[in-house]
Symmetry: C2
């Protein structure tokens, strides 16, 4: 994340504060248009806290360009054996309706639940602000086969190739549907996932979940590295222009990798060794070729003895766009720590999310290089992997991927 931005926690606004600031309409059942207007008004002051409501509607799904929240829950669902195109559409319609309410901090109204189910609303979030909740939905490669839409599956949505050194757990990867829930309050993401799961009853089953967080100021990962420097403009991850199917216009592709860090090993390395593996200074993230965090890395610099200052296998060298024909990946990642593993080492690392217009020219070539000799990779284990197409944004009255399912 950018240096100097406010810690995520300071963005929080209580429901009470929001009401006091005139946000009643945004929380108490107003239509989507009114909600958005209120948010704009609340967000107009540069000095005040950022608004707690991120509009669900728009040209892109929220959660791609949105400034990263402090907490995330990722979940993948698999469609049931009897779920066809019509029933998948009904599920996405239910999820969309619920998302509209939840993002505004409203209760999910009765009637949304699957036929024969009880109301999904138990008031758990009655006192909670939505805390910048975003709900982002994606479609896995298999979604298209399962719904009779194989012909509509984009070429770019081909399952990722195997990479050297991958140690993937299939049970924690892939999936027919993705839900990315970001918020500045883990209580919100936790309960919202539960609501979506209940709305999927009979149609889709939870396949895996992952839980992540950032440091309050969002700068470092659990290896202690300043992370996210030189991230491209997030808008470069979005799809547009001729050849992009209607349902995907304004959308993106996201690659998710659960990357465990071998922290016991890493933390025992001398500082210069850790800095060489990355190619940046641990203290402030500046390149080893000098300057400050945002100074461009000088990949050509050599020491007097002719040895490159940035090692030939340094992460910044192998991951640099210059080394990868300008491959674009917008990283929007979270740390995770799920306690000790069976062998006592930490089950901790990075939920790496890379957003891009085409994984075949983005993640795939970069990871092919990194997995063949990147110095940092020795201390990382890619444990789970998934790829999803993320449909474009939703207008009021529409539902996610409607143009695909009714096309």
């Amino acid at each position: 994340m950018a240096a100097g931005r406010a810690p995520a926690g300071r963005r929080r606004v209580s429901r009470r504060a929001l009401l006091g600031a005139g946000g009643l309409a945004a929380l108490a059942g107003a239509g989507a248009g009114a909600g958005a207007a209120t948010v704009a008004a609340l967000g107009s002051g540069d000095e005040g806290p950022a608004p707690a409501v991120v509009p669900f509607h728009g040209p892109h799904q929220a959660g791609i360009l949105t400034a990263r929240q402090s907490h995330v829950r990722l979940a993948a669902f698999d469609l049931g054996a009897r779920t066809d195109r019509g029933r998948a559409a009904a599920l996405l319609r239910r999820w969309t309706s619920a998302a509209e309410h939840l993002a505004r901090g409203e209760a999910v109204p009765p009637g949304l639940e699957p036929p024969g189910s009880r109301s999904v609303e138990t008031g758990v979030l009655a006192d909670s602000s939505p805390a910048r909740l975003t709900l982002t939905f994606g479609l896995g490669p298999n979604f298209f086969d399962r719904t009779g839409l194989a012909a509509a599956r984009p070429e770019a949505l081909t399952p990722l190739p195997a990479f050297p050194e991958d140690q993937l757990d299939p049970a924690r990867g892939d999936g027919d549907l993705l839900v990315q829930l970001g918020a500045d309050d883990p209580f919100v993401t936790t309960h919202v996932l539960r609501v979506l799961q209940r709305l999927a009853h009979g149609e889709a089953k939870l396949r895996w979940t992952m839980t992540g967080f950032t440091a309050a100021d969002g700068r470092r990962n659990l290896m202690g590295q300043v992370d996210g420097t030189n991230n491209p403009d997030p808008a470069r991850a979005l799809l547009d222009g001729p050849g992009v199917p209607t349902w995907l216009a304004g959308g993106s592709y996201v690659v998710i990798r659960r990357i465990r860090m071998l922290l016991d090993h890493w933390d025992g390395l001398p500082l210069p060794h850790r800095e060489q593996a990355l190619g940046r200074r641990a203290s402030d993230g500046a390149p080893l070729t000098g300057g400050a965090e945002r100074t461009p890395v000088d990949l050509a610099a050599v020491r007097p003895d002719g040895v490159p200052v940035i090692a030939t296998n340094a992460h910044v060298r192998l991951a640099a766009p210059a080394s990868n024909s300008g491959a674009t990946m917008v990283r929007r990642s979270w740390s995770y720590h799920d306690g000790p593993r069976g062998d006592g080492t930490p089950d901790a690392g990075l939920l790496f999310l890379a957003w891009q217009p085409d994984p075949r020219t983005g993640f795939v070539p970069v990871q092919n290089r990194l997995s063949r000799g990147d110095a940092l990779s020795r201390y990382l284990v890619h444990e789970a992997s998934a790829l999803f197409a993320v449909p474009g944004g939703v207008r009021p009255g529409e539902y996610v991927a409607q143009a695909l399912l009714e096309g």
Copy 2:
């Protein structure tokens, strides 16, 4: 938590903000006395954010009376086979020194690590505020046997009896040493646990960890209940007076129960059923006998047909001090959600922490009543249990439990 208190997130102060506000001394290596003074100065304004530094030193350990933070990591350690009284003392001395630095937001200085180990400091928190970090240490019943101090083990520190319906996993309960890490930033608690674990290398092994969070406004649990109403003054949990050993003066006992909620079952119940099980209104936590959240429950009220308004098996009736000879328990609990279990149901519930001057007259009689017919208990599974004595506070130059280990 009390109604109307500020959401935990709003208490956060960035390291940068703290430095700007003149808090440099508190962060940059000043002595403990200076640090505490700075905190007092920073905290003097009613309108400003609460200070990010909770003093480690004082008559009680921090993390008992401290307003609950938004995140917690609990961990238990077991002493190694060769760890005797002297080595246990050395470990507590290392942990205490590290805690003094970490609570002030300082790097852990070199030299604290166990002999032969590398520095534990890798700069992970270099940009982070301590975010009200508290480090609270406790001793399990077995600690005393393992260190040749069996004669000094208080009567009250007897392992808890088995309760009906317990489904305890021994691997996730008990332990020789407790560490409770609270902060308003999960990145801080995560890394601090790692530092303590590395400082324990060769002496104590991680036995279990648990991770919890609150809603930003801290009021509800994952069942949707307003929680913590009628919590006694936390100071009532503290030990004092004649008969209390020196090392325990100003200390307390803490019972930890990992209580899984059968949310799939619970959420499907009709609202009146859920309210009867608790004895309070779901919407605002008011007793079913009327009034507001803090109105005393009228346990004697009957309906015209003679049926008690608060059911005979309602949780508020069976848990009420009036039903338990005035038993004192100060609850300071967190929600947890570790994803789906193998059977697809949520691995979610409450990390219930009860602080008390004597578990034999506090938790034990109350839980005996609750586990024999409490209506809420049908939807709860007690999965792990632990009891620790929490020594009194530490003065500069001392270490936790010094009076016990050198007594």
